[in-house]
């Protein structure tokens, strides 16, 4: 290099003869190796590069050395600020835990006007007193809510069909809002509803209190009505009209839709996505097949189902890429959550993919009768007869008793993926999480043997798919990066 005399050449600043590893995980990935680290950074290495790297034979002059250095997979004598940065990034990733419980679900009524076959929970009944939450219970629930230290609180109303007990929703919203004048949290309300009973009164109230609406839309009419039969057989129409109504009165960003994936959905992903586009939604959450209600006939049923779901997911993603190429910005939500873990230093705080599991410390459920559950799935399990994940009762137990109970503490300590066999060595560990309820339901063990786990199979499939694109396909990778 032709530098003026008083300047030192670049070689003078690299006096490095060896390097050390910074903690990382690895795995074979197609014909290459994938490396990830504690803070979510990732890097693909060829077999030769991996070999050289792990044998400490990689030369400073190689381009891959620089990438390994800047992504904090190795450290050399030239710089050690990577330690400070890794610590900082690690702390950032765990920040969400410190926030503690933010999502609180109030099951205001079990009554419902639908009879969905996959629902374990709802009751068609006129009997209000038997299946509705009372004001007393609701107040106990609110006491609980505001004991959480989290700055952001989300109260979601569930059911059954939550609007069948709209009066209680009104009561809770008003009471919570009033308490929040003092508490000053970032308080958000969501009503999960099938939209059958969304009239002007409800809309007006939602508008006043800035409430979000979440509804179920399983796909085009035939699919939706098949999955979610309503005795009067006009479920789809009600839903779609309801969506339009809410968009018009409350705003397009005030209503979101979730789908339930059933056997019938598996071959219809394009139709389902089309349905979502036609109603103005710009994203979809391709939800997994529910494991509940499947008798464990063979050990492989869950993995088999996971594979079928992965086909569904990939076909959906291909279609979404096609849409994006044709100028329609559309996103898949589950992928977005995972991409946030892969591409940013942040934690998306998605309850079902956390380590330790998000039970209680991220989300908690108050059933209509005051029983407290670790998650919505826990509640479903209870309705099926297994109260393994019941944490206590608002009527009998205090906040402290529930939140520091042996039940929760052992759930938390046992669901840290860092300590689970197979998970602890998995290259995708930092993108993944624990689902103790799923594993309990399918294997009768909250950790489960991951080689038999549909949860593991599914997630590994998604990670491989997304990372494969990020590592190889520049234009689709670009689309994915835009989702974060």
């Amino acid at each position: 290099m032709d530098l003026a005399k008083k300047f030192k050449a670049p070689e003078k600043f690299i006096e490095v003869s060896s390097y050390n590893f910074l903690p990382f995980r690895f795995s074979r990935f197609d014909s290459r190796y994938l490396l990830t680290n504690e803070v979510g950074e990732y890097l693909f290495l060829s077999n030769e590069q991996f070999l050289a790297f792990t044998r400490h034979k990689l030369k400073y002059s190689e381009a891959i050395y620089l990438d390994l250095k800047c992504k904090h997979f190795l450290i050399d004598s030239d710089s050690d600020v990577s330690i400070d940065l890794l610590s900082l990034k690690l702390r950032t990733k765990y920040q969400a835990i410190k926030q503690f419980t933010s999502l609180h679900l109030f099951v205001v009524s079990l009554r419902c006007d639908y009879s969905c076959p996959y629902c374990q929970v709802s009751r068609i009944s006129e009997n209000k007193t038997q299946f509705d939450m009372t004001e007393e219970t609701a107040l106990l629930g609110l006491d609980f809510v505001f004991k959480s230290p989290s700055g952001a609180i989300k109260i979601e109303f569930q059911g059954g069909e939550s609007l069948l007990n709209f009066e209680l929703i009104r009561f809770i919203v008003e009471e919570a809002s009033s308490r929040n004048k003092v508490e000053k949290r970032d308080l958000v309300f969501v009503i999960a509803t099938n939209l059958s009973f969304i009239d002007n009164d409800v809309l007006h109230f939602c508008s006043e209190h800035n409430i979000f609406i979440s509804t179920s839309l399983d796909g085009p009419q035939d699919l939706h009505d098949k999955n979610r039969p309503r005795p009067d057989k006009n479920g789809y129409d009600l839903t779609v009209n309801g969506i339009r109504n809410v968009q018009r009165s409350l705003g397009v960003d005030k209503v979101s839709a979730l789908m339930t994936t059933t056997e019938s959905s598996l071959s219809r992903v394009r139709d389902i996505i089309d349905e979502y586009i036609s109603h103005g939604f710009d994203s979809i959450f391709l939800r997994p097949l529910s494991p509940y209600g499947f008798a464990v006939k063979t050990k492989s049923i869950h993995k088999y189902n996971a594979q079928r779901w992965l086909d569904f997911y990939k076909e959906g993603m291909e279609y979404i890429f096609e849409l994006n190429r044709n100028g329609i910005p559309f996103r898949e939500e589950y992928s977005s959550i995972i991409l946030k873990k892969i591409l940013t230093p942040f934690n998306p705080g998605y309850v079902d993919l956390q380590s330790p599991a998000g039970v209680a410390i991220s989300a908690i459920v108050f059933n209509y009768d005051g029983d407290v559950y670790a998650s919505d799935e826990s509640r479903m399990l209870a309705e099926m007869g297994d109260k393994e994940f019941k944490l206590g009762s608002l009527n009998n137990d205090s906040y402290e008793e529930i939140m520091t109970s042996e039940k929760i503490l052992s759930l938390l300590s046992e669901t840290m993926t860092e300590g689970m066999p197979m998970c602890t060595d998995c290259v995708f560990m930092n993108y993944c999480g624990s689902d103790p309820v799923y594993h309990y339901a399918t294997q009768k063990d909250i950790i489960g043997h991951k080689s038999r786990s549909g949860f593991c199979e599914k997630n590994m499939g998604v990670f491989k798919y997304l990372l494969g694109i990020l590592g190889e396909d520049a234009s689709r990778a670009n689309t994915l990066r835009g989702w974060v």
């Binding site: 290099m1 032709d2 530098l3 003026a4 008083k6 300047f7 030192k8 050449a9 670049p10 003078k12 600043f13 690299i14 490095v16 803070v39 950074e41 620089l66 990438d67 250095k69 800047c70 030239d78 710089s79 050690d80 600020v81 400070d84 940065l85 900082l88 990034k89 940013t344 230093p345 990066r481 835009g482 974060v484």
Partner: protein
């Protein structure tokens, strides 16, 4: 590059013997009590020159100088743009005048010292190892004279933090006398590796402070090479971390040239992952001054060549929610996707255009070149015709 250029003038009837810092006025009706502290500028009307001013400045016109006025300075006519509210340093012994502050300019900047602990390849203000404490004295004297309505003031060097306690004294003075003015300090941030320095600057509690800190690579030794200081990368990053821990606003500045353009996307990714809390990232084009001229063959790269990398870097940061801007690039060289980030930053009186710019419809937005560009610019300058 700030040259401490002084203009020489002629002195008449002076009663001063030490250099002084003074504010200029063109207000004939200034109350007598204030006139004692200001210098009156005589532009055209040499009649009715108000009495009582501390000094008078004429501009190269053969002044019809009334002899009863004292402290008369006849300045070269290229200073006749001086106006009301400007702040000058006048040396009565030599008659030299230095303009410290111009009220009507949007880009006032003070040179704090020419000393530096780095030695950047492209330094536009090459360091000198001298005792230039007088510079701080002058600035401190000027601050109370500066118009309170000034939008922003810049501090640069050399490396301002080398001034130690006087640096903090300076920041405090800006806060106290100019509570509505934002302060932008260019610093390599290395001395903020010591936590107490970050604490000190934070404690001043300046209402609108931003530190502009350069980071030239995600790789330690590449950055160290560009700034010609071993260990600078680690110090700078620790400095940034400490400053942000104390809630001081930090902007990362990246000068793009042949030694830094190749890893722009990786640097952007590094910032998005590790320094995600910075308040701004600025990508700067090369200025043909100081050491840039000396090292041109090692530094020059035609901006057209790195547009893809710049776009990837900017997009990456933008997606991460970090504010990004591009400075000192002519619009015709940038990819259209980057126009929203481009800031017309070449300051008011320096705008120049070259013959290739004739007929260009976007001259106003663009800002053109620095005067210094005459020595080297892109082969791809093309006017916008639609």
């Amino acid at each position: 590059m700030i040259t401490l250029s002084t203009k020489k003038g002629i002195v008449r009837n002076t009663t001063e013997n030490e250099p002084f810092v003074i504010r200029a006025s063109t207000n004939k009706n200034l109350p007598l009590i204030l006139r004692k502290k200001e210098v009156f500028l005589v532009h055209e009307d040499q009649n009715n020159i108000p009495i009582g001013f501390k000094a008078y400045a004429f501009f190269d016109c053969a002044p019809n100088v009334p002899s009863e006025h004292e402290n008369i300075y006849v300045l070269p006519s290229d200073l006749d743009h001086l106006g009301d509210g400007d702040v000058l340093r006048i040396d009565p012994n030599t008659g030299s005048v230095r303009v410290l502050y111009r009220r009507l300019s949007k880009h006032n900047s003070f040179l704090t010292t020419e000393r530096c602990n780095s030695f950047c390849l492209m330094c536009s203000q090459p360091p000198r190892k001298i005792n230039d404490d007088y510079l701080i004295d002058e600035i401190l004297a000027a601050i109370p004279l500066i118009d309170r309505g000034t939008g922003e003031i810049g501090l640069s060097g050399g490396e301002p933090t080398l001034l130690g306690d006087r640096f903090f004294e300076l920041v405090k003075s800006f806060k106290n006398f100019l509570p509505e003015t934002s302060l932008h300090i260019l610093t390599n941030g290395r001395l903020f590796e010591e936590v107490k320095n970050a604490e000190k600057i934070s404690e001043i509690n300046h209402h609108d402070l931003m530190l502009g800190i350069p980071l030239y690579s995600d790789i330690s030794n590449i950055h160290d090479f560009v700034v010609q200081a071993d260990g600078a990368y680690d110090e700078t990053i620790r400095g940034i971390l400490n400053l942000k821990a104390y809630d001081v606003r930090v902007e990362i500045r990246v000068v793009i040239h042949n030694q830094t353009y190749e890893r722009l996307p990786q640097l952007a990714n590094f910032i998005a992952r590790n320094l995600t809390f910075v308040d701004h990232v600025a990508f700067m084009g090369l200025e043909m001054m100081g050491f840039t001229k000396t090292n041109l063959n090692v530094l020059w790269v035609d901006p057209i060549k790195y547009q893809d990398k710049l776009e990837a870097a900017v997009t990456g940061l933008d997606r991460a929610g970090i504010r990004v801007s591009i400075y000192n690039h002519q619009l015709c060289l940038l990819k259209p996707s980057l126009y929203p980030f481009s800031v017309k930053s070449i300051s008011d009186w320096k705008n120049e255009y070259i013959s290739e710019c004739d007929g260009c419809l976007r001259k106003e937005e663009c800002g053109g070149f620095f005067t210094s560009a005459a020595m080297k610019y892109s082969d791809h300058i093309t006017p916008f015709t639609s």
